[in-house]
Symmetry: C2
Subunit: 228 residues, 2 copies
DNA sequence: GGGCGCAAAGTTGTATACAATACTGTCCCG
DNA sequence: CGGGACAGTATTGTATACAACTTTGCGCCC
């Protein structure tokens, strides 16, 4: 209903649209994604919606429960740790490669990204800021020219957004843009080793800002029941 | 037709069955996977088949071409390099963790795996040997108790099987089991550093045994035309 | 005889109808 | 008054019908 139904939405377009909404915390963890609702919203049949939800479930952004429907995923503390563990294996080395391949155009793009993120934060658009923050990391992987790793990181970043929604402790907004700024400096100097180290510490800081005590499943079934 | 249709196949069961067939090189790269054919083979409607094919396409094992159908993926040399690049970022450290957590039961399982692989090679069942070889790597990730990384590695291993089908240069069968045996020794000693180094070199050896010159796309559209 | 165009067949894309399962509220019984 | 069973409602699972597109083969024209 709030979606533009001028053109017909493709499966991938719907999946991307939903992923963005999840990433921006417009669809919080546990939200029920009813097939009829989505079909009506996008002006298409359930067939396409189901395919899109299946795609998102493969990215661990949506949990499918047989005969019960699709819900925005709710990563456990364990899953949260694992996601950042995987990122810490992939992203520092990727940042290293990216630093060595960095061009002026790439630097400008990353710089614009940081600026936009800051603007979003000032405007109170936290969801949009989080999305831009993720895009910064994704852009680094793209610059490293590693399509396969980029795809993996893309999924991990989106999952990280869900993790932040559930386990974020204190608002360390400044920390974020600061870390990205420091990375940008290393990139500008084409200092691979520094970029690698900065990325590694950045990810460690991110995990440190989470509260992953095992009392996690409160939003699990309780919230889900209320959500609908 | 050759499939058992006693019980009804689920989407995931079909996807797993197809993935196994691809992994074992029973379905070589470029093979057309017609929806009607599969639906008849498994005794279900195209609905489920389409969902399974969509799932496999998300694992990069199947390439979907709009209005043309599904084909077993044909990784490019570049993609091949990237897959092993990703594996070399993930698996050595994972082997390290696995070594530290190794139990007697785990060792027995890995040992049995190597034995089975050897038996398969002796029997000339190369596809089965390749599957078992992949399972060895997957088992290591499981032992490391990293579900998320395990899922990523699982996909990369299956893709590696496609890469081997396309770019394998010489049969270095012995090398394979030798490397796994050396890893097993390190695991038995709970020597994480050694396991990490062995895994790293094992993956380098694998890439070295490939012929990734950019004359790759011969099997691309030519073979696809003949295949059907 | 070669090349273009059109028509027919086959395959995939999408929507919809129906079946199966889970949820909700009510009624009856203890 | 509380608990359990049952029926109604709603939602998801699967199959099928139809539409759109691609491919293929034939025929006509140049």
């Amino acid at each position: 209903m709030n979606k533009i139904d001028d053109t017909s939405w493709s499966r991938d377009a719907i999946a991307a649209d939903l992923e963005r909404a999840i990433h921006e915390h417009r669809l919080p963890p546990g939200t029920k994604l009813g097939e009829d609702d989505l079909a009506e919203a996008y002006g298409i049949s359930r067939t396409i919606v189901r395919a899109a939800l299946l795609a998102l479930s493969h990215r661990h952004l949506v949990q499918l429960r047989r005969n019960r429907g699709a819900f925005v995923a709710q990563p456990t503390p364990r899953e949260a740790r694992e996601v950042f563990e995987a990122r810490s294996l992939l992203e520092p080395r990727t940042a290293h490669s990216a630093a060595l391949r960095m061009t002026e155009a790439d630097l400008a793009l990353l710089n614009a990204n940081i600026r936009d993120e800051h603007a979003a934060l000032d405007a109170g658009e936290n969801g949009r800021a989080l999305l831009l923050s993720g895009q910064f990391h994704l852009e680094v992987a793209r610059i490293a020219d590693q399509t396969t790793i980029e795809a993996v990181i893309s999924e991990l970043i989106s999952r990280s957004s869900l993790i932040i929604a559930l386990y974020w402790r204190r608002r360390a907004a400044l920390c974020e843009t600061q870390a990205h700024h420091a990375l940008l400096d290393a990139f500008a100097r084409k200092d691979g080793a520094a970029a690698e180290e900065l990325m590694k510490n950045h990810l460690l800081d991110l995990v440190a800002s989470l509260d992953l005590r095992n009392v996690a499943p409160p939003p699990a079934s309780l919230r889900e029941a209320l959500q609908r």
